[in-house]
């Protein structure tokens, strides 16, 4: 199981929790698992998120491994100029 930090305005979809647990070994499993366990997150997940795993930011790399003790943080989808 992986601990995932959710940003505050998404907490209404996760029973007001900003830290949730998901069974996941990869980025894709994480996102699919969040959508399944918390359907209220799905609209934001579909709009796009970035994910920080142990301090590194990932956008689309589905098979990025996640260790059970990894720090996983959902971020708003990063964009630049």
């Amino acid at each position: 199981m992986v601990q995932v930090r959710i940003w505050g305005s998404l907490a209404s979809a996760t029973d007001d929790q900003t830290e949730v647990e998901i069974e996941a070994g990869t980025l894709r499993e994480l996102l699919d698992g969040l959508a399944e366990k918390y359907p209220g997150l799905k609209p934001q997940l579909d709009r796009g998120v970035s994910v920080a795993i142990d301090g590194k930011v990932y956008n689309d790399s589905w098979f990025t491994p996640i260790q059970p003790d990894s720090e996983v943080v959902l971020l708003a989808r990063l964009r630049g100029g």
Binding site: R5, W7, P43, K56, E71, A76, L78
Partner: protein
């Protein structure tokens, strides 16, 4: 790909870190460089756009018959001429912005376009298009647009977490942070509550948008345009025009500035629609007025801060509510502002709430660290004011609260090794900090942060028969990346920089490359270039092994040559890159290396800016006396370019802080769509911007590179406001700090 093994405690570079001649310099100063407006085609037509004079209006009818009948007119298009295809919401907004459908949503919104034999015929034709509008009430300022009774631009665009009862123009809400704000504030010796405002500004690139579109009767299309992302242009236009991506080839011209403003499309789909309808190539070049009215400025903002500080400078709580209007469509960068606002600081109690708001203004586009400069203006101004009220040194306050390795950032991530403290300590030790100030002069400091990212990247590195090198990459060069790629390739291959030429490919020549934005290119394309060079070296070692009749594993690449290595390799003279290139056909064929990657591991970047200003108490005019940028670059591949990025960000911040603003009349029409009245700083306005490059290597890149292009625009708004506030003796909380505003603040105290 991790940071490479160190030699004697630091990487041993021969090329990277030097100041080689830039490859585009001669072209740009002699006029040989070809920008967006420099392409022509036989039979080319001129395309022009008819734009709404209303800030908000329903389009009840458009009659193009008189325009179509005018001699020399080959096509007129409206929204009805675009194919009816399924588009995702973001692309639909882009299409609606490029060509209005049911409503014109801002002054300057495109409603029709013509392609004609000359510019004068096209302009005549525009006047013959009859558009019937039903003018609607409009709203311009962000706080007005948020009201429940504000004129609504759209229905049904609020995302699921916008609370009930919010006006229809409030389309999204974000919240980040941790801890207990009220508990934190209760521990403070001083609490500050302030509201800060910034106006919308434009990226101010010198080159207006321009493109040349050709569509064959077989559906194959070509587009030449100035852009930060030819693949983004291809994918967006292909979706809008109902083309498959491989049938549309987009070539990026040389670019005269982008800064985020060219990370989307404005005229390209229109040019393609005109080219398709007329059967002729169509060239479109925006005027400056069109650029300001109808491309993508950044958001204007209204930000409330609550912050508490103890008498020894500890920030006990930081709260920010950020309200950004991003123009007529959802997507202001408020979430980036909300995530980055307190990012430089280690705070136990921190919360940011961001609101995305629409208003009758042009659709925003990215502007260099989108969303962050305004947020930093508010937070850094508050830190400055609190620190001064407690009689504390501004740099010491920031050092006391600075984020370090292991800090949990306000946006949730735990930082690895970062360079903020280094920038602050360097600033404190710098002669600028202790230089004396005179009457009506003030010094301001501020910190800034940006995320940086990687993304999809393809590079092909080809060894030519004469032993020189071409690097083919897919990212328009907006900051010296061609030089940087050539340098990294030369470093890896062990050849002189002058033997490497980097070119930028069209969309048919390489796989997907994400847009040149996010300070990603030196990081991501560099990483791919290094990998492509390593692949080429492996192949060249293999060729040498064939010639020597030994195992591949017994050959190494060192100092530009393949060399036998190991006890059983035997004695063989080294084979240089040129030697191996000369016999490539004899040993298996052309030699190349390539890399296709979705690059991750970009490192965050921090900066501290220091600025001295003088305020004329009689006019309110502000003069920048001295400016120093301290920023962590990880590894400066070409220091001139890194310094240029630092200086450019600072100068754009100066304009944003002192002069630039979108000014609207009561009728919602933009009053200053030209560089005379939208005043950007020019070289004669400013002193030299001094730079100090720090290098705390990013472990996610083989040379330690961090992105630098965006962080440099984050601190200036606050640094300058802090300086002017000190010089004028009154706190400035609203930008720009134009002379009338500063004078009024001085007079009213």
């Amino acid at each position: 790909m991790a940071l490479d093994a160190k030699v004697d405690g630091k990487l041993d570079f021969k090329v990277v870190g030097t100041r080689v001649n830039r490859p585009d310099g001669i072209d740009k100063v002699t006029g040989r460089a070809r920008f967006g407006a420099d392409m022509t085609a036989p039979g080319m037509l001129v395309g022009k756009v008819l734009r709404s004079p209303h800030a908000h209006a329903r389009i009840t009818s458009i009659d193009v018959s008189a325009a179509e009948a005018l001699e020399g007119v080959h096509a007129v298009v409206t929204r009805a001429d675009f194919p009816q295809v399924e588009l995702d919401e973001a692309t639909w907004d882009v299409l609606d912005n490029c060509m209005a459908g049911e409503k014109a949503l801002y002054d300057g919104h495109a409603v029709a376009a013509v392609a004609a034999s000359s510019e004068s015929v096209a302009k005549k034709a525009l006047k013959l298009i009859k558009v019937e509008y039903e003018a609607l009430p409009h709203v311009i300022a962000v706080d007005d647009a948020m009201k429940a009774d504000a004129p609504a631009l759209h229905e049904g665009r609020q995302v699921e977490n916008v609370p009930e009862g919010m006006g229809a123009n409030v389309v999204a809400r974000y919240e980040f942070g941790h801890g207990d704000i009220e508990a934190g504030l209760s521990k403070a010796d001083k609490v500050l509550e302030r509201t800060y405002k910034t106006e919308a500004t434009h990226q101010g690139y010198i080159e207006p948008h321009a493109c040349l579109a050709q569509v064959g009767s077989d559906g194959q299309a070509d587009l030449w345009c100035c852009t930060q992302g030819q693949y983004m242009v291809r994918d967006t236009c292909a979706a809008i025009m109902g083309l498959s991506q491989s049938r549309l080839k987009v070539t990026a011209s040389e670019i005269g500035g982008g800064f985020g403003g060219k990370t989307t499309v404005f005229i390209e789909p229109v040019a393609l629609a005109l080219a398709k309808k007329s059967g002729r190539p169509v060239k479109m070049v925006m005027s400056r007025s069109e650029v300001l009215r109808a491309t993508g400025p950044t958001a204007s903002s209204s930000i409330d801060i609550r912050m508490g500080m103890t008498k020894d400078g500890q920030i006990t709580a930081g709260f920010a509510e950020l309200r950004y209007q991003g123009g007529a469509y959802p997507g202001s960068p408020v979430e980036m502002g909300a995530m980055s606002a307190f990012a430089p600081y280690d705070l136990e109690n921190v919360k940011t709430v961001g609101w995305d708001v629409v208003a009758n203004r042009p659709k925003q586009a990215a502007y260099r660290a989108p969303g962050a400069p305004m947020a930093a203006f508010a937070v850094e101004s508050a830190i400055d004011e609190l620190g001064k009220a407690l009689d504390l040194d501004p740099l010491e306050v920031r050092l006391k609260n600075a984020a370090r390795e292991g800090t949990k950032a306000s946006y949730g991530v735990t930082y690895p090794a970062i360079g903020l403290e280094a920038t602050l300590r360097t600033a404190k030790d710098h002669p600028h900090w202790s230089a004396p100030l005179g009457e009506n002069q003030g010094r301001g400091v501020a910190c800034g942060f940006w995320f940086n990212f990687g993304g999809n990247t393809c590079v092909s590195l080809n060894i030519t028969p004469d032993g020189t090198v071409n690097v083919i990459e897919g990212n328009p060069d907006i900051g010296g990346s061609r030089a940087s790629m050539s340098m990294m390739a030369a470093e890896e291959l062990g050849v002189p920089y002058e033997r490497v030429r980097t070119v930028i490919a069209d969309t048919a020549s390489l796989g997907l490359n994400d847009v040149t934005d996010g300070s990603r290119v030196t990081f991501a394309v560099g990483l791919a270039t290094i990998e492509a060079a390593r692949a080429a070296k492996r192949e060249m070692c293999k060729r040498a092994a064939m010639v020597w009749g030994i195992d591949e594993e017994a050959v190494v690449w060192e100092d530009g040559a393949a060399r036998p290595s190991g006890p059983n390799a035997g004695k063989h003279d080294p084979m240089t890159l040129a030697d191996i290139a000369a016999i490539a056909s004899n040993t298996g064929g052309p030699i190349a290396g390539h890399s296709e990657v979705n690059a991750e591991g970009a490192g965050v970047s921090f900066a501290t800016h220091m600025v001295d200003t003088e305020v004329d108490p009689e006019s309110g005019a502000v003069k920048i006396l001295r400016y120093t940028v301290f920023q962590d670059a990880g590894k400066a591949v070409h220091p001139d370019y890194v310094e240029g990025q630092f200086q450019g960000g600072a100068v754009q911040g100066i304009g944003w802080a002192l002069n630039e603003a979108y000014i609207y009349g009561e009728d919602g029409v933009l009053q200053n769509p030209g560089f005379l009245d939208y005043r950007v700083p020019v070289a004669s306005d400013l002193p030299m911007i001094d730079t100090v490059i720090l290098e705390i290597p990013n472990p996610g890149h083989p040379y330690g590179v961090r992105g630098v292009g965006e962080t440099s625009i984050v601190p200036p708004l606050a640094a300058i406001a802090n300086s002017v506030s000190a010089a004028a003796g009154v706190r400035m909380t609203s930008l720009p700090m134009s002379p009338p505003k500063v004078l009024k603040a001085i007079q009213t105290g």
